[in-house]
């Protein structure tokens, strides 16, 4: 497939935004049970604003993917059948929840909802945060399923696709949270950095698992099934046009196999290995954590490029020879 930069930015940016929100609410949940010192409303509030900025960035990028963005509202109508439609609903819903989570913290309006028998006070921000956490995962699943549900694209048609979207978004979000905490609440950067290391390791394992799986795939469709002729030697002499067509532009990445081979170690290094090393030695320094996040996000963008480029669409069987 041809990697579309709009989709690369969309998926990586909202992944980081979702991850950051999950990191912040994880911290609030820990604090609620007294496992961590509760931070100020401003910490959670401005953190959520930062998450919202990433989500908005992703949303803006997605608009460039559409031929007719002025009709984008229609894309929320087919949620019964289309994962893309479900994502179109889940993204604004999650953005709205993030906005409300930021709002109640920054306004300092956190009315008590219920007091548990243990004396634990559940205020409105906890309720919104819980809904937001659910929606963050719903959004991850929708994003992943957009790719995983296409059974012809066998490189994507696997539960690993969804799992990796969750883990990679989570990893970059927790790294971003560590950087944010180093600036806003330095004592807490270690908590986020620790989780960032754990999630990055899991994401690396998930991504390697999908690389191994994809390396072992054998194509289901062949030229024989594509044109229905039983013969071991079939060559295309012409694809029916001398110029290119949509089919030759949309489904080929246009790079050499050697380039593709180089991209794989590049993203494994930038998205996982280098961030792991930097996180381990950052000593909660804001500068180093900032660098870590930039490197990891860039690495994930390279990873996303590879994710698209590696998927081999069966329609390519019909478009092999210009003549």
């Amino acid at each position: 497939m041809k990697p579309a930069f709009s989709v690369i930015f969309l998926t990586t940016l909202i992944g980081a935004g979702q991850g950051l929100f999950l990191a912040l609410f994880t911290h609030q949940s820990y604090s609620l049970f007294g496992l961590l010192p509760m931070q100020s409303d401003a910490f959670y509030g401005y953190g959520s604003v930062l998450a919202l900025l990433f989500l908005i960035g992703g949303l803006i990028a997605s608009v460039f993917h559409l031929g007719r963005p002025e009709r984008a509202w229609r894309s929320a109508t087919q949620w019964r059948t289309s994962w893309l439609s479900r994502e179109v609903i889940a993204l604004p819903a999650f953005m709205g929840t993030t906005f409300m989570y930021a709002g109640v913290h920054l306004a300092g309006m956190r009315p008590e909802v219920i007091t548990l028998p243990s004396g634990l006070v559940i205020d409105i921000s906890v309720l919104i945060g819980t809904v937001g956490t659910l929606l963050a995962f719903v959004l991850f699943v929708c994003t992943g399923m957009i790719y995983a549900c296409l059974r012809f694209l066998r490189e994507w048609h696997s539960p690993l696709t969804v799992i990796n979207y969750i883990l990679m978004g989570g990893a970059s979000g927790f790294t971003l949270a560590a950087f944010y905490a180093a600036l806003a609440a330095p004592t807490q950067a270690g908590f986020f950095g620790g989780w960032a290391i754990i999630i990055t390791v899991l994401a690396l394992a998930g991504r390697i698992a999908s690389l191994v799986r994809n390396a072992r795939l054998r194509p289901t469709s062949t030229l024989q099934t594509a044109i229905g002729v039983k013969h071991p030697y079939i060559t295309q002499r012409t694809q029916g046009s001398m110029g290119g067509s949509f089919n030759t532009r949309e489904f080929f990445h246009g790079k050499t196999d050697a380039f593709l081979k180089q991209i794989k170690p590049t993203f494994l290094f930038l998205a996982f290995l280098l961030p792991l090393a930097l996180l381990s030695f950052s000593q909660n320094s804001a500068g180093l954590l900032g660098l870590t996040f930039v490197v990891q996000l860039a690495g994930l963008m390279v990873e996303r490029w590879f994710f698209f480029a590696q998927a081999n669409h069966p329609q390519n069987l019909y478009y092999q020879t210009i003549g």
Binding site: S82, L150, Y318
Partner: protein, 243 residues
């Protein structure tokens, strides 16, 4: 229930591209707007087509065979491109099974093309919407045309009648008979999309003549051995030789 479809006879197709040009002409002139081309007379022309004729070489020379392969939307009975559409612009008509795109609803996200294993849809780079074969839906029901003309443009254009059009759910239709009697098959059956369009394979007529069929086995003269028996290639004459 009706399922309109094309049956394409690969045994007859000569690869003349008449169906391609006729399709383009009809569908770029209709009320749905043009099928846009870019740089049509430039060095790097490209454009939107509903129908392409591709050519494959089967086997190695000299034991090779040329196959011309017209390719358009197959109007699958279980079209994978339809459920993925986020706007409902892609739909399959209940009344005749034609898969269509509503150009006024399409947002141009191209997700449907990812979901089609055949590459049957082409994005119109100027109109910014997805386009595909309509089976000439604006033609086949047009009562102002003579009944013989109420067929897809490609079918009307084919000089060798390689393209048949009809309802594959009607067992007595010309397309159903062709599929049934001449070995019609579907493309990429492994994906379970149940394409409605079918292809008839290349087929050769072999006449098997046994040696004894060249002789009159019951010629009494031959049986009795009364007359001389000339070699197979030699001339023979009644009453003079055995056959």
């Amino acid at each position: 229930m009706t399922q309109l479809a094309l049956v394409i006879d690969l045994n007859v197709c000569v690869g003349c591209h008449a169906c391609v040009t006729s399709c383009k002409e009809w569908n770029t002139s209709g009320s749905a707007g043009p099928l846009c081309d870019e740089r049509p007379y430039g060095a790097d022309p490209t454009g939107t087509f509903f129908n392409r004729v591709q050519t494959f070489e089967i086997g190695h020379f000299p034991n090779s065979e040329t196959l011309h392969f017209p390719k358009s939307c197959l109007h699958c009975e279980d079209p994978p491109c339809v459920p993925v559409c986020p706007t409902g612009a892609s739909y399959k008509r209940k009344e005749d099974g034609i898969v269509l795109v509503d150009y006024d609803k399409c947002i141009g996200c191209k997700y449907c093309t990812w979901a089609c294993p055949y590459g049957a849809r082409e994005f119109d780079e100027k109109e910014k919407v997805m386009k595909k074969c309509t089976l000439c839906v604006d033609r086949i029901y047009d009562m102002s045309l003579a009944e013989v003309d109420r067929k897809p443009s490609c079918v009307k254009a084919c000089p060798t009648s390689a393209r048949l059009f009809g309802d594959i759910h009607d067992p007595e239709s010309v397309v159903s008979k062709a599929i049934r009697e001449d070995g019609g098959y579907a493309l990429m059956p492994e994906w379970g999309t149940h394409p409605s369009n079918h292809y008839l394979p290349r087929r050769k007529t072999h006449l098997k003549i046994h040696k004894d069929e060249l002789e009159r086995a019951d010629n009494p003269l031959k049986v009795d051995g009364h007359l001389p028996k000339p070699g197979l290639g030699e001339s023979s004459m009644d009453d003079v030789s055995a056959w």
